[in-house]
């Protein structure tokens, strides 16, 4: 087997990248949540959709583990990005407000009617939050002053690269730091990255 200088260098770069990612994972774990890498975010999703919140309702639920407030968020699915969502998407999550009582789940996104989001959904109805890694599974679609739409993280900060999803939520984007004129990802660009990653993670192997 021959190894060219170029291929050795490429291998070194890949190893360095892996070490870099591992170091990042070691030093930036979320208290409640470990931010997933972009491939993991896609892979851990049951499905990924772009949708607009149609309704938000909350109710009190009693079960063997106590009394909870459960909020149902009805989504008008505008685009199925990956996977197969049910015909009628209603996300259920722990927490919400019923009358004067509010139950808060710290770190969980809050939805309002009209919100336009890309959502990475996993374990809806089984997990206390139906989004992959809580706030890391929700990407609002916002508009700048010119009307151009862009993708943001859950705290409203623009997303400049799909790889930024693995950063702690308050960490500035290295892409923006290196390129002052960098533009946030458009919904189409982010959706394209998601679909590419989904296809990668679902590619048939020889063993299959």
């Amino acid at each position: 087997m021959k190894h060219s200088l170029a291929s050795s260098l490429a291998s070194l770069i890949r190893i360095a990248a892996v070490i870099g990612l591992a170091a990042a994972a070691l030093t930036s774990r979320a208290t409640s949540v470990i931010p997933p890498t972009f491939p993991d975010l896609v892979k851990q999703s049951d499905y990924v959709i772009r949708g607009v919140v149609k309704s938000v309702s909350a109710e009190m639920v009693n079960d063997a583990t106590g009394r909870h407030i459960v909020t149902s968020v009805e989504i008008d699915v505008r685009q199925v990005i990956a996977g197969t969502p049910p015909a009628h998407v209603v996300l259920t999550m722990l927490g919400g407000t019923v009358g004067a009582l509010t139950q808060t789940v710290h770190g969980a996104p809050k939805f309002s009617v009209g919100d336009d989001d890309i959502l990475f959904v996993a374990g809806n109805g089984k997990n206390f939050s139906p989004l992959v890694a809580l706030m890391h599974g929700r990407y609002p679609i916002l508009s700048d002053s010119t009307g151009r739409q862009f993708v943001a993280r859950n705290n409203g900060v623009p997303l400049y690269s799909e790889n930024d999803v693995s950063l702690p939520i308050g960490t500035p984007s290295p892409v923006k730091a290196e390129q002052a004129n960098a533009q946030p990802l458009s919904p189409a660009a982010f959706i394209g990255k998601i679909q590419s990653a989904y296809n990668q993670s679902h590619r048939p192997t020889l063993e299959n």
């Binding site: 170091a23 070691l26 030093t27 930036s28 774990r29 979320a30 208290t31 409640s32 949540v33 470990i34 931010p35 997933p36 851990q44 079960d63 583990t65 106590g66 009394r67 909870h68 722990l94 407000t97 004067a100 009582l101 509010t102 139950q103 808060t104 789940v105 710290h106 770190g107 309002s112 009209g114 919100d115 336009d116 996993a122 374990g123 089984k126 997990n127 206390f128 939050s129 992959v132 890694a133 809580l134 706030m135 890391h136 609002p140 916002l142 508009s143 700048d144 002053s145 862009f150 943001a152 705290n155 409203g156 900060v157 623009p158 702690p168 939520i169 308050g170 960490t171 500035p172 946030p184």
Partner: protein, 614 residues
Amino acid sequence: MKTKILSLLAVAATVFGFTPRAGAFAYITNDSTGLPIKWPAGSVPIRIYADNSTKLSDGTTTRATAVQFALQTWNALLGDEQFTWTINPSGTPADNDHFNEVGFSSTIFGQSFGSGVLAVTTDWASGNERVEADTIFNTAYTWDAFDGSLSDAQNFGKQDIRRVAIHELGHNLGLDHPDQATPPQTVTAIMNSHVSNTNRPTADDIAGMQNLYGPAPYGSVPANNNFANAITITLTNNAATVTGFNCNATKESGEPNHAGDAGGRSVWWKWTAPSNGNVSLDTNNSVFDTLLGVYTGSAVGSLTTIASNDDVNPGIIQHSALTFTAKGGTTYYFAVDGFDDTTGPGADSGLITLNLAFTSTGGGTTTFGPSDFNQDGSADILWENTSTGDRSFWIMNHLSIGSFVYLAGIATEWHIVGSGDFDGDGKTDLVWEDTVTGDRTIWYMNGTSLSSFGYIANVPTAWHIAAVADFNHDGHPDLVWENSQTGDRTFWLMNGATIQSMIYLAGISTDWKIVGAADFTGDGNTDLVWENTVTGDRSIWVMNGTTLSSFAFGANVALPWHIAAVADFDGDGHPDLLWENTTTGDRAFWLMNGTSMSSTPYLANIPGVWHIVP
């Protein structure tokens, strides 16, 4: 609407980037009122469900004591709240069972954690009050206790209970993630949504938490808890914002209910109106449901209510706001208390922000003569030694001498001829006259200390500045000149140290001298006090701006007595006269009720070369 708000936020972020602010901390807020959700003052009992026998890798800590460490860490920082706890080796937190629990479990109340979730805090609130909070650590992870860097090899694959517990208990107390706030904040904080090498509360975390529960140590009482210790508010450009806490404050015997609510944790400020005017007062940016009351009077048990307010919008906007018409020279007391919903824990508490804005309508100025230099609500007395040139303050507590403050030694050819706020900083400045050269200058004061100098003009020495007060209602003190040879009197209408215009008043015999100016009739105009240096007659010219309206107050007092100063010495809102006997050195007040004398308390006997200056 939400999308729109987020869009605006994003645009702002795009254009300006992120600007860290001094207080980057974030609160968990009540969506209805916008106020932080917090525990009522007192204690928060915690049930720890954790093994207390198996040592972690540091050899001393157990899971239970690691959680206990986090509780103790917050306790050391709080003024009116403390965690208490019991340790139970087994058990699992249950939701909405009225117990605050910390434990380890493979589920969140029976539901899966999902991927990557280390620990979750859920809490319950009713209105602005926290009523329950539970924290669950995910047993899918390996928990240990260590202070080192997360990237240390020995910590690989392990989670630190202590720093995660401090973070989660920060949620329990009311702090949210600053990096997820609106707008997001960039700050080093244990309350950020990601764990890092930060393993204890930072200055930002502490500031946010102490806004909710007051500064440590636990139980510390604010200095302005009692009416008698009200903190003086000083205006800058006719406005002031002050902050404080009512944590651990109490209600005094005889204290009124503020805005009709029992309250129970009141603190006090006071402010003396520099002239007649309109005041708006609010508690915006306070962290709790406030009560606000405005009073006059000298004792907490016998106050006169001027205005009060509970909520800007009852039950919705729970800050307080009010307006009232202020009378120049009157000292107003402001009480800020917490609303008591009578469910048991007492009045709300936390950080208070009190905002005052004043619009002068002119007149009523009492800054002529001995005025309130240290802004404690009592007019002070300024002395001049005609031999040595020393000048010194008597800081008064109304009619009693509080303390002495030395001002300066200045050549005796210079005399202080009046005082007023010439630079609009809310502090009384001094007007000087050089009786040899005719120079007139201003000492811009910072309380009882010289701040800087200003020059007015050089005017022939036949002219003397006889009074300083705002006559034309523009908020700026004006000068009244007196010609000792011709008897002419004229106004210089001023804008700070700059003359705007001159208005002739009258030609009056030089036997008469103007010895003071203040609003005796309460009509918003500044009146002039005259003294006949031959007959001993005294009179008040009731003015309408710069025009004589009528005469009042006829009195004849033997000539060794001179009116040395005019100010509201007893704090009743009416200007008084301070007399000086140039033979005996006796000084005495005439306390006035409008243009009538009501009593004559004695002040002191200071013989010799010391004289009170206007």
